[in-house]
Symmetry: C2
Subunit: 157 residues, 2 copies
Amino acid sequence: MNDSVLQREIRQNRPFRSLAQEAMLGLMRTTDLIRRTFGHVVEGQGITLQQYNVLRILRGAGDSGLPTLEIGSRMIEESPGITRLIDRLEAKGWVRRERCPNDRRQVLCWITPAGLAVLDSLDGPMAEADDRALSMLSTDDKRQLIRLLDAIRAGSR
Amino acid sequence: MNDSVLQREIRQNRPFRSLAQEAMLGLMRTTDLIRRTFGHVVEGQGITLQQYNVLRILRGAGDSGLPTLEIGSRMIEESPGITRLIDRLEAKGWVRRERCPNDRRQVLCWITPAGLAVLDSLDGPMAEADDRALSMLSTDDKRQLIRLLDAIRAGSR
DNA sequence: AGCCTATGCTTGACACGTCAACTATTGATC
DNA sequence: GATCAATAGTTGACGTGTCAAGCATAGGCT
């Protein structure tokens, strides 16, 4: 009866070797659960979570557009995958690309009106999903969580 | 100067729409960072984080082995991918499979001695990685984190 | 101008995650 | 005992993460 939720979930009687290990596993499982939930929200618009993230970044960038790799650096994963991700978004007409005249190595990207429309239609549902996913936590709990996560990333370098 | 770490990371001046949204993004970013770190630890043995998880589950199961889908259900993601994952582990000689005589629909899986050796050689490095990843948190912080994550999963069904 | 290194992608190869469709068995029901 | 729904896996198709290699353009140096 002292078992944590996680110990029961993975059906292993052995206690965790350390608090750190238990927290790590909890982090993985929790995030994967949430990622799947959010994935279902956006898939209603025929879009992927990663594609959604790219569109949000481009909407935030406004009319000046963004070079391909700059988009990548603002996302979770960096480099190469971003090219193919944007390939698909361009194929669907949600992103426009153009080689930068000043620096011909760069390829600037913009979100199209169609892309904006998709994004706007998801703002409400996504905001709801955020709130619902953490509705069991008090305001103070959420602040704690944010603080702890910030600390982990700041110390990971 | 009131910007949180996350706001600077994603270079967006707009504040988060809600605490929930900020916590969600923090969760994703933190977990992805950690997953990558752990991935590098296990790749030294020519193994993947998912493959490592499967082997750990099989080691925990002992001599009686486990049916394929039971392994899947103990991991983050469920069903179909598990077959191919185990295909690769079997190809490397780390897992042995055999159709169950009692219920011929099931395929039982065991970890081989070679698989055990790989796993054992990773126990130390992984334990270190767990500790290092959260070394900036106090014992109390870790307990808080575990509690908050447990609560989120418990409330998510 | 000519060369060298750095930068900004792009591509190929491989490992997953996810959904849907399909096969082989089981077990329950009539 | 034949039929049917449920269970256990497998397979195909597509999107994505990751690493390594390759290509074109910039910029700095001589």
